[in-house]
Chain length 370, copies 2
């Protein structure tokens, strides 16, 4: 519990806040006075802060708005090329690397097959070479020899320690138990590395880039693919818990003494949901998923549920409709008019890699932890 804030901390906090508003405004930009209204700071303070950001090359003036009877407002815009980050998604059998600019937009992308059984050193080396190839290929402008890269974010499934960047367990590959992936890759590449669960990365990407952000500060991202997991965003920040264990959604028990799950428990939502998918009964799978989503939504009072993963992508309509129906039914029973809205998460298969890059971009915008 540090918490003490000095003047340096105050400056960086307010600068991050302004930077976040610039990022949110996107290409449309935002005026100084609007920044002042949104932050609660005085216009003069915003002028000073934006002057520093412009001096650092993070923001530029970009045109003017229409006049409302006086001097028209000058529009400020984030400079996308002021910083970049690499996002690495280590999936079961594929590695995906993306290079993102400061706005989170993907500039370059590479994909390659991945074999986690090839040995830890080989995998780290292979990932490092993919990153290097990605950066080498992305230098299109001749004079941009030194592309400013903030670091590499790595997202992968399975339990791990986000704070120390250590893997706990990778299903099927015991040799990875306790591997300090962050430090190994950071040493190899010479850049900062951040490691997180794939669902957390996807949720972060949605919180910062997706349509989710504008409407809601708290939402759950439910990922239904080969497994079932969740990423939680509470108050605009990813909630990981003390041990990066938060989001354990798939082994929520929704049927006491139900059918056995591979985890050893009975009646886990993952087992029930995947069994229904295997039977081809998407309506039942959606109903089970919706039950878990309603449990979660009631517990945390979130604003939105986003669905993703291969299974959802293959059958979006029944899942959105089925999950929404369960949430609406429970909301009506509690007296509310409408339930929590349900949507398919934008971003698709690239969402996790994009979110992994955001692991390094988010701190710039004050979106580090909760």
């Amino acid at each position: 519990m540090a918490g003490g804030v000095n003047l340096l901390g105050l400056r960086s906090h307010n600068a991050a806040l302004v930077l976040d508003l610039l990022r949110t405004a996107g290409e449309a930009g935002i005026s100084r006075l609007e920044l002042a209204e949104r932050t609660g700071l005085t216009p003069q303070a915003v002028s000073k802060i934006t002057a520093r950001l412009r001096a650092d090359g993070l923001a530029v003036e970009a045109g003017r708005r229409a006049s409302t009877g006086g001097k028209p407002r000058t529009v400020l815009r984030l400079v996308p090329d002021a910083g970049h980050a690499v996002g690495l998604h280590l999936d079961r059998d594929e590695l995906r690397a993306v290079l993102c600019d400061l706005t989170g937009a993907v500039i370059a992308e590479r994909r390659s097959p991945l074999d986690l059984g090839a040995g830890r050193e080989a995998v780290v080396e292979g990932a490092a070479r993919e990153v290097e190839a990605l950066l080498a290929g992305a230098v299109r402008v001749p004079d941009a020899a030194s592309l400013p890269v903030l670091g590499v974010g790595v997202a992968l499934p399975g339990p791990l320690d986000h704070r120390h960047g250590v893997l706990h367990r990778v299903t099927g590959f015991p040799e990875w138990d306790g591997f300090p992936l962050r430090d190994a890759l950071a040493r190899r590449l010479g850049t900062p590395v951040v490691v997180d669960k794939d669902t957390n990365a996807a949720a972060l990407g949605l919180a910062l880039g997706g349509a989710a952000e504008a409407a809601s500060a708290s939402f759950a991202y439910l990922h239904l693919g080969t497994g079932l997991g969740a990423g939680l965003v509470i108050g605009g920040a990813v909630h990981r818990g003390a041990r990066t264990g938060a989001g354990e959604f798939g082994h929520q028990v929704v049927q006491l003494d139900g059918p056995p799950c591979h985890c050893g428990d009975r009646g886990c939502i993952e087992a029930l949901c995947l069994a229904a998918v295997a039977r081809g009964d998407m309506a039942e799978a959606a109903r089970v998923l919706g039950t878990g989503a309603a449990n979660l939504a009631g517990l945390l009072d979130i604003d939105l549920v986003l669905l993703g993963g291969r299974t959802v992508a293959a059958h979006p309509e029944p899942f959105v409709a089925g999950v929404g129906a369960v949430l609406d039914a429970r909301a009506r029973r509690e007296g509310s008019t409408g339930g929590v809205p349900v949507r398919v998460a934008p971003g698709g298969a690239r969402g996790v890699a994009e979110g992994a890059a955001q692991l390094l971009l988010a701190p710039l915008f004050g979106r580090a932890e909760d």
Copy 2:
């Protein structure tokens, strides 16, 4: 999203942080240098902050520590009488009012029967008179004519809007629907009033006063009485959600298509748990409760589960053991050595009223929202 921080905000933030550490230290006190270490501020900054606090009468010097080879550290202590708050617990059939000092200790207490069916004005008037009687009786010292009271915190069951202090619904008494309790009581008493759910108040009280705090910043308080609810503390602050709806634990479905619940759904944990209690099967009730607790603990990665409420108070051992067994079993399946610890919440029947008083004290210590 205001978020912008100026120098005034910085000062109050750091002062609240120091006050919180003084509160945590209790009667033992804490030295300036220790405050500096814990906050991350320089010793000189802490000296200035504590000087302001002493000038305001919130802190005093209280003795010295043993020397470690130089000048001994001066110990600072919070002044309990520098502020007071009233906590009001409106239970089903009883009103409980407590007067707490700045440390949260109960100075005076009153209990009286409560009939929510007596009409809204009569109930508000009755509650106001209880508060006045409590304050009048507590003025023991002659010259303490004006006891500094920060305000009144009110805790009651059922859905409500914490932010606006408006009740949504009181089971069995439709006349209370939409009643602006906060404003009505504040107008009548002339002091600030804060309203919250009983489970949230209890959780806040545990976060600030209980033994929970020292060990864990995130925990769930599960209340099993006439109903089943939860209060969540994440990162030291109560998580209420956007609509004060968080903590809806009882109608979590843990048995798809299970026995019907009074809420209209099927297989709710509340229905299953209370049915087992009615049968006298506490082991089964604890197993059901433990399943819900494990779902919650996995989802949020919390550090501790605290159990409370009349039913738990009547049979503490089987509940602690049964819930703990489910949590331990799931932790073992996930590879962890030990599960989340389970304990009976201290405070007993008075915990909710104490937590209600903390609704006004907590903001002084920077524990307002998450």
